[in-house]
């Protein structure tokens, strides 16, 4: 049998097999082949320049937006088209970080509107990725609720228009738990009875942040000692934590296999709409307050259409209808006034001022602190 004809991955002549191992070695010598990585890192560090609007002529009739799946629906897009004649193409992402990586690496040049969350606005504007909003082109920005007139993540809404907001809290079934749960102390007081019966969000800043607040510190603490204390405090309730998942706990909670889940208010609201016996609370010690916003990236090919979109979304009537259809919390005070009383009084959608006062938005921290958070998270999820 001719030896080579019969060869494949498994029966190579020995020397070629050994060469397989040399892949890495060969690759190492190829490092200097390109300085691509350095160029990339540099490029993304604020050096992004405004693209000349080469597509203005053909692009006027389409607007590409990059958003979360549940923030637009067909009705909204077709209403917008009826009004302005602009066709909207919506791409979706499932995490802020995916979006950021894509935009930074140059894959977001087609988008004229992006929906980053609060902390991401801070990060993106810090890196010079966002264009300053031209107030003269915007109508109704003064109708925003007080809390969003001058948010911490973006002073005076210079780069962003808040679109949707919510809180992070605890959801449980009062009939099953048979006790009054007001906040995190219930979990620390009853750890032994809750073995593997609570879930927490799969996000380091939310979980450690909630613990920091429980300890009386800021959710944005940058003090290593405080962060360490929070980590150690969390270890106490580790036996009670079934898993760190942002979604996927719904069925188990509804079925009584889980006692308490830490959840975003939006998830809780859509769940309670179908399981009214469940209850969502913002812990007494406070919680994170998150906002998803609309921004115009510097590279936006069609900023006229982007402004048209922002103005359309700021119109109280449109914003109110969106709240009714998608069950999201709007920061638009004028839209809030147009809502039916039943929605206005929904404490989960629109918590009282007293509750909101305890809530704090998560803002980015310095690199070393961020590394510290991450290391505690890795330890927490692997011990």
């Amino acid at each position: 049998m001719p030896p080579v004809r019969n060869s494949n991955f498994n029966s190579l002549p020995p020397h070629s097999r050994r060469r397989f191992l040399q892949v890495a070695a060969a690759a190492t010598s190829g490092v200097m082949l390109s300085n691509c990585a350095r160029a990339l890192l540099n490029n993304a560090s604020g050096g992004t320049t405004v693209q000349s609007d080469g597509r203005a002529g053909s692009g006027n009739q389409t607007l590409r937006i990059y958003t979360w799946a549940n923030y637009t629906d067909d009705e909204l897009l077709s209403n917008f088209k009826d009004r302005t004649g602009i066709q909207v193409i919506a791409d979706t992402y499932d995490s802020n970080e995916t979006m950021l990586a894509k935009v930074q690496a140059g894959g977001g040049k087609d988008y004229s509107i992006i929906y980053p969350s609060d902390y991401m606005v801070d990060q993106m504007s810090g890196q010079g990725l966002l264009s300053l909003l031209d107030r003269s082109k915007l109508d109704g920005i003064n109708q925003l609720m007080d809390k969003w007139q001058n948010p911490a993540y973006d002073k005076n809404n210079a780069h962003s228009i808040p679109a949707v907001w919510g809180t992070t809290g605890l959801i449980f079934n009062p009939d099953v738990i048979q006790a009054e749960v007001k906040g995190w102390d219930y979990i620390w007081d009853n750890t032994e009875d809750l073995t593997r019966q609570i879930t927490m969000i799969s996000d380091v800043r939310e979980v450690l942040g909630a613990t920091l607040q429980y300890l009386g510190y800021s959710i944005n603490s940058t003090d290593p000692a405080q962060i360490k204390e929070a980590y150690e405090k969390l270890l106490e309730i580790k036996p009670a934590i079934a898993s760190f998942v942002t979604n996927g706990w719904e069925d188990q909670l509804a079925g009584g296999d889980l006692m308490i889940s830490m959840a975003y208010s939006q998830d809780a609201i859509s769940l309670i709409a179908e399981k009214p016996e469940l209850q969502y609370i913002v812990p007494e010690s406070g919680s994170s307050l998150w906002t998803d916003t609309m921004v115009i990236p510097k590279t936006a090919p069609n900023s006229e259409a982007a402004y048209a979109w922002l103005n359309f979304m700021l119109e109280p009537e449109n914003a109110a209808r969106l709240v009714e259809r998608l069950k999201i919390s709007t920061p638009n005070a004028a839209a809030f006034d147009k809502l039916p009383p039943k929605l206005q009084q929904n404490e989960n959608l629109f918590p009282s001022k007293a509750v909101l006062a305890k809530c704090e938005g998560i803002v980015p921290v310095k690199e070393e602190i961020s590394n510290l958070y991450d290391q505690f998270w890795t330890r927490l999820t692997s011990s």
Binding site: P2, P3, V4, R5, N8, F9, N10, S11, R17, R18, F20, L21, A24, A27, T28, G30, V31, L33, S34, N35, C36, A37, R38, L40, L41, N42, A44, S45, E97, T98, L100, A101, Q104, A105, Q127, R196, D203, V204, R205, K238, A242, S243, F244, V245, G248, D251, Q252, G255, G256, D257, E367, N371, Y373, D374, W377, T378, R379, T381, S382, S383
Partner: protein, 300 residues
Amino acid sequence: MTLTSPNPNLAEPAIPGWQRTLRKLLQPVILLGPSGLWLLLLLVFPTLLILELSLIPGARLGNPPGPYGIGNYIEIFKPVYLQVIWRSLYFALGTTLFCLLLGFPVAYWIALKAPSRWRNLLLVGFILPLWTSSLLRAYAWITILRPSGLLNSLLGFFGLPGQEWLNRTPAVFIGMTYSYLPYMVLILYASLEKLDRRLLEAASDLGATQQQSFWRVTVPQTMPGIAAGGLLVLIATLGDFAVPELLGGASSMTVSRLIYNQFLGATRNWGLGSSISMILILGVSISIALLLKYGDRDAI
């Protein structure tokens, strides 16, 4: 590029010598060129990029890059990361073993025992559940494995005590085995199907028991398939983080989740993420090389 014909004394039809040489040169280029080019562009360049990133300590998008160094590689040796690597290996090796043990009889039965006209259909039927999203399949397992779920109800029906499956290691093994068993069966089938049955007949003619002919004929002949299937499942399980995270509970951090967190988590430490990726690539490459050597010896 110089080429050595695998079979120089192959009688080729009478065609001019230069044409034959050209053909000999062209054939491999045509066969290997297009895929080679594709892999070079969309795989080799990107991988070199990862390598370069791994050599820039603390490389982050949006930061001016620091000087080259091996800081990222040193970082991996922290006990916390080693523990994560160890857990991933445990999950991956265990799943591979389960897939082999459960998948081989299935592939064997479809390839050799089932009526031949049903074979393709049976095979496709085994793969079909993969048509659902992996996320949904994981959710379905949550429904089955949770304390008041289907499995415990079934156990209760037979008067057996319920167990805690979910958010512990058993759930990871069940979920991952479920996800990768079809791949194993597919690959084993491809190599069992071409098994030379005459050898089995000869073995039984010579008085070998079924067991003997299985271990002496079937297994050695399907070794390439076993190696390829095992390898594929091992690599795929090392790369899976959705199943461990959803089913494995609060202590289920795996290497691939760690890499993911470095790229897309709060720290966005692309340098560290790249260096863990490189270590993973290197580790898997070495085990492939070892496995090929081992598989080779057995195949002869």
